[in-house]
Amino acid sequence: MLRVSGQHLGRTPELGALSNSVPDPMTPAGPELLALTDAVVSADGDGAAQAAERLTEVLGEPSTVRAIAVAANFQMMNRMLDAIGVDYGGNEQIAAAIGVPFTTRE
């Protein structure tokens, strides 16, 4: 969805930025969004407050709160999908596009 939505909006998203293989995801405020996501999902002490402050400076508080809400939602969806056995296939290709190793669970 990142690639499809970015291209729809006339941008060229860099999936490698998800794994820090490339520095900029080519999404507006991308580095700030990634930093906030990391800090919130990892519950990184003071890091979350600092990352939220940086993103708020760029996009404003409502967008920052929305980004946190999206991360929270995917904390649920990731666990649900991994635990109920939904498999779209193509996971190996996704991992390759992002630039991370993929190990099958079976």
């Binding site: 939505s5 996501t37 666990r79 993929f102």
Partner: protein, 220 residues
């Protein structure tokens, strides 16, 4: 302790009422009797998952060892779950319907903790807000009788798919869709690529979603 208005009081108007109400409703839901677990047991599930995620000592519990292991696996290593492991849960006496409720409660607690931590309404460890007192009452036993194992590892109404993940248990299914709609996007709007929420464009939301998934080692 009342759960009503908990978040709204803490953030003092920094987030909109619907988001605050959704998170408050989530805590109330966790504390209420479910289909297979009492409110007290559901609070223990939330506490076990929270402790595991933050590397804290395992809290005292009346839940069986199999239930504890299942919740802790959902909490911090769901990406390692296999069909064979799910079979071992059934062999340990956890029905596939009860498995869905355990998973849902664990997931809902992660949502609330992540959101409240992210917006600065609470800290981590001892700084997380106290779990609510459990609501009295007995488990209802309610399931959707149409749910069958269809392409996944647990019963779903229709094929196993993101919108049907918790569909075997109607109350958990409804809350999952409420959270998905209020925090991210409603399922009917999933293909609206021009959607903007609170100034955040769709690809910006997807960047957050994709990074969260990578941190969780989830490739779906």
């Amino acid at each position: 302790m009342s759960t009503s208005g908990h978040l709204a009081r803490r953030v003092d108007g920094r987030i909109d009422d619907r988001l605050a109400a959704t998170i408050d409703r989530t805590w109330s839901h966790i504390a209420s009797p479910g289909s297979f677990f009492s409110g007290a047991e559901r609070i223990q599930i939330a506490a076990l998952g929270r402790a595991r995620r933050h590397g804290d000592d395992r809290p005292a519990t009346t839940l069986s060892a199999a239930l504890v292991e299942t919740v802790e696996t959902f909490s911090d290593r769901a990406h390692t779950i296999t069909a064979q492991w799910v079979d071992t849960r059934a062999a340990a006496g956890i029905s596939r319907f009860a498995y869905v409720e355990l998973l849902a409660v664990t997931c809902f607690a992660v949502v609330s903790d992540t959101f409240e931590y992210g917006i600065g309404a609470c800290g981590i460890g001892d700084g997380l807000h106290p779990l609510p007192d459990p609501e009295p009452g007995h488990p209802t036993g309610a399931v959707d009788e149409q749910a069958t194992v269809d392409g996944g590892w647990v019963p779903t109404v229709g094929p196993a798919f993101p919108p049907t993940g918790f569909s075997a248990i109607p109350a958990e299914h409804r809350l999952m869709h409420t959270l998905h709609r209020e925090l991210y996007i409603s399922v009917p709007k999933m293909f609206d690529l021009d959607l903007v929420r609170d100034g955040l464009a769709r690809d910006q939301m997807e960047l957050v979603a994709a990074r969260t998934s990578l941190v969780n080692d989830c490739f779906f």
